[in-house]
């Protein structure tokens, strides 16, 4: 007997969209006390499927056109709005990707949990409070009394997600829908939240519909897996079947694209350093206001005493969680941010004390690839100009710069016609290729890549990593590669520097760090990588 039965579900998209149906002929079953993972890349329709169950589709343009969603025999597609409101929260509840936006920022956590009870059951105020406290301690939040009075911004990302889970489970729903609940979290927090969801699911006997794009997470949490592509269900089965013996070519390709956790073979490299960072320190100050007469200044040490060495032809990975200062270090190195102290020696020249004008001729030697392919290209500039801009500024004749831009387009695997187009005509992966071409246009010695693949789907991610590898060989680049994803780091980097709270806690060859981590934090990070028990070939 299944708890949730989705049959022949069709969800249409507004006219003029890429395809007529967001979700097409999907059949799914969810049993009580089971975790079903829906996996897919962006645009696969996995989130819309979940939203259809909750009755949260952006109607009227996106709506269910055929099929049924039955919960214990009751068809959720055709119920009245009033009944749906009853069901939401009490029978089905949902947790979202970004707990900061899913929680009301001007209400305390306690009030928000209380609301759930007030709307669905009649209980005395005291009783509700007792219940809320119990829930908060169930999700292992420290000091529930304090948390009740806290506002969302006063909690960390992990704590917010715990509070969300507490709220979602307040009325013992039969079904919990989790839409990428750990994607916005750091890997160590993610591991804890996954454990918590699993634990709560077992103790409450809930059926969980878990939406994710991450196969590591699937391996850790799922009982059964459904793979979606372009709105269609391509494969479903038990976790073991799908992950270890995928039948559909799309699933096979997706799984093959997941980077392996076993580090790559170290490459030959010279011992000659191109870039040395010595005792780099950066403190961010905020507050002050009105000519400095405002509030008190706050100081955040984003980087303290960071020392790194990049040798010729190698890729140095800087890994760490959000707030570890890895991006700040990268920005200091390319002089987007002025460091407070320390040395940045590029081929022996210290970049730190240089003024903007003095820095200009040296810019060509060190270039950056940015994280967000949608924000890193000017939407109003043609691709050809974006790429040729750098050489033009550095005084290369216009004909030469244009020829170079065309050549780079073919190197990064884009069509010649891309030259005259605007960035919005390209997909995320293609845009990242344009960003790489822009950085390469100046023939840099050092390329700083700040999370270049973390905004991309896993199959695109694999292609971009391959491209970076190819370019590195071809142009003998040295690269600083910043990432939060240890799987990616394992595949790309020759050496690693692990950062936390603005400090480098450990450096060494990638293979050594993976095999034998020294610092306690590195061990913790490695242990938190999802899907370790399952290894891809």
């Amino acid at each position: 007997m299944s708890l949730l039965e989705i049959r022949n579900l069709h969800i249409c998209l507004p006219e003029g969209s890429e395809r007529p149906f967001a979700v097409e002929a999907v059949n799914l079953d969810l049993a009580p006390n089971e975790i079903l993972c829906i996996v897919g890349e962006s645009g696969s329709g996995k989130s819309l499927t979940a939203r259809a169950v909750m009755g949260l589709l952006p109607k009227p343009h996106v709506r269910v056109t055929h099929g049924s969603i039955k919960m214990d025999g009751e068809d959720l597609v055709n119920v009245s709005d009033a009944r749906m409101r009853e069901i939401r929260g009490s029978d089905i509840s949902m947790i979202f990707q970004e707990p900061m936006t899913a929680l009301n920022p001007v209400m305390t956590i306690g009030d928000q949990i209380d609301e759930v009870f007030r709307f669905h059951v009649s209980m005395k105020k005291k009783e509700r409070r007792q219940k809320a406290l119990a829930l908060l301690s169930d999700v292992h939040l420290p000091d529930p009394l304090q948390i009740m009075l806290a506002y969302p911004h006063e909690l960390s990302g992990g704590q917010r997600q715990r509070a969300m889970i507490a709220m979602a489970l307040a009325l013992d729903p039969k079904i919990l829908i989790a839409d990428e609940p750990t994607t916005a979290l750091d890997v160590t927090t993610q591991a804890q939240i996954l454990k918590l969801i699993k634990e709560m699911q077992a103790s409450h006997n809930t059926g969980v519909l878990f939406i994710t794009h991450d196969f590591g997470v699937v391996a850790d949490i799922a009982d059964r897996v459904a793979v979606m592509q372009q709105g269609k269900l391509v494969e479903s089965g038990t976790t073991d079947e799908v992950l270890n013996n995928p039948q559909h070519p799309y699933t096979q390709a997706l799984i093959a694209a997941v980077p392996s956790l076993s580090p790559r073979q170290p490459r030959d490299q010279s011992a000659e350093p191109v870039l040395q960072v010595e005792a780099l320190t950066k403190v961010f100050r905020s507050g002050g206001g009105f000519f400095g007469f405002g509030g008190e200044e706050r100081m955040v040490k984003a980087a303290s005493d960071v020392t790194l060495e990049l040798r010729k032809g190698e890729t140095l990975g800087i890994v760490g969680e959000s707030g570890s200062g890895k991006s700040t270090v990268a920005r200091c190195i390319v002089r987007l941010v002025d460091a407070d102290d320390g040395k940045i020696l590029l081929n022996g020249t210290d970049l730190r004390p240089l003024s903007r004008a003095e820095m200009r001729p040296l810019r060509a030697n060190i270039q950056m690839v940015f994280q967000d392919p949608f924000a890193s290209l000017n939407p109003r500039t043609r691709v050809g100009k974006i790429i040729s801009q750098g050489p033009l500024i550095q005084g290369v004749p216009i004909k030469e710069a244009q020829a170079k831009a065309r050549e780079l387009l073919s190197i990064v695997g884009l069509d010649k016609r891309a030259y005259d187009r605007y960035p919005h005509e390209f997909s995320g992966g293609q845009r990242q290729r344009i960003g790489i071409a822009r950085a390469l246009a100046l023939n840099p010695d050092v390329l700083v890549a700040d999370e270049p693949v973390s905004a991309l789907d896993v199959s695109i991610q694999a292609q971009i990593l391959k491209l970076l590898d190819k370019i590195r060989e071809r142009m003998t680049l040295s690269m600083i590669f910043i990432t939060h994803d240890l799987r990616v780091a394992a595949q790309v980097c020759d050496r690693l520097a692990v950062m936390r709270y603005g400090e480098v806690v450990e450096t060494g060859p990638t293979a050594e760090i993976f095999a034998n981590p020294q610092a306690a934090y590195t061990k913790e990070l490695l242990a938190a990588v999802p899907g370790q028990s399952w290894s891809t070939a």
């Binding site: 987007l336 060190i366 270039q367 890193s376 000017n378 801009q389």
Partner: protein
């Protein structure tokens, strides 16, 4: 461009506004063909009702043609509205752009200056400026621009603040691009849409301020203007309603049309609204 027209066309009232506005522009441009006489000239019997004595919209207490005044007044209104807006948008964009881009002390300084202008009620400030400078087209344009630029400066500052931290701007820094080029070539084109929208709405406000000034007798004495006509006829409202009514309607319709067009531009250019549909 075609795409823009398609988006603009969706808002029907905006298209209606555009048609009215075009009509007013044509009227202003052809005023000297249909009414070759100076609008201040006394051309017939005073206080003639509309349709009598050869006056389409009647004549005022001195025998001036109201229709001629409206046609010539359109030129004044549009000219002053446009000029004042161009000056205000230009100056406001420079101030807001510098404040937003450089931040820190420059931002503090420029924004405090902007706030100083905002503390004075704008119409009173405009009256004061015109009274000090002597009424003339230039002084009216300057007065309207002076009271209008702070809004543009604030808007542009906000846009620059958010755009300067975008990765594509940072990428330009890493390429070694100069500040001026980043501001003009990279950031400004990306905030043109809101500037165009606020500018179009500002034309309407400028026309209103100009009419108000002329109504109070602070218009350029040598140029016919709607506000002047309303002001001159206000004492005769009961005996000769047409003297104030038609110029008043002209002001109303023009301001309404410009506002409709401005709203249509906003709908078409604002990406957040575009997604909603």
């Amino acid at each position: 461009m075609r795409n823009f027209w398609k988006l603009f066309k969706r808002n029907r009232s905006a298209v209606a506004g555009l048609v009215i506005l075009l009509f007013i522009i044509v009227m202003a441009a052809t005023a000297h063909l249909f009414f070759p006489e100076d609008p201040f000239r006394l051309v017939g019997r005073s206080m003639s009702a509309p349709g009598t004595n050869g006056f389409l919209l009647g004549s005022d207490s001195l025998g001036r043609d109201v229709a001629s005044g409206i046609a010539h007044g359109a030129k004044t209104s549009l000219l002053i509205g446009l000029l004042a807006t161009i000056v205000a948008v230009g100056f406001g964009t420079i101030m807001g752009g510098l404040a937003g881009y450089y931040g820190g002390i420059i931002d503090d300084l420029l924004m405090r200056i902007t706030e100083m202008f905002q503390t004075i009620p704008s119409f009173v400030f405009a009256i004061l400026l015109v009274a000090i400078m002597k009424p003339s087209i230039e002084s009216i344009v300057i007065a309207i621009a002076v009271v209008s630029w702070p809004a543009v400066a604030r808007l542009v500052r906000g846009e620059f603040l958010s755009l300067k931290n975008r990765e594509f701007v940072q990428a330009c820094h890493t390429l070694g691009m100069s500040d001026i080029r980043i501001m003009l070539g990279e950031i400004l084109p990306n905030c043109l849409s809101p500037i165009i929208v606020i500018g179009s709405l500002m034309v309407a406000t400028a026309i209103l301020i100009e009419s108000g000034l002329a109504f109070l007798g602070l218009g350029d004495p040598n140029i016919m203007s709607w506000g002047f006509q309303v002001g001159a006829g206000r004492t005769l409202l009961r005996s000769a309603w047409w003297i104030v009514t038609f110029p008043g309607l002209a002001i109303l319709i023009t301001v309404l049309a410009i506002n409709l067009v401005g709203e249509g531009l906003n709908d078409a250019l604002n990406p957040r609204l575009r997604e909603r549909q």
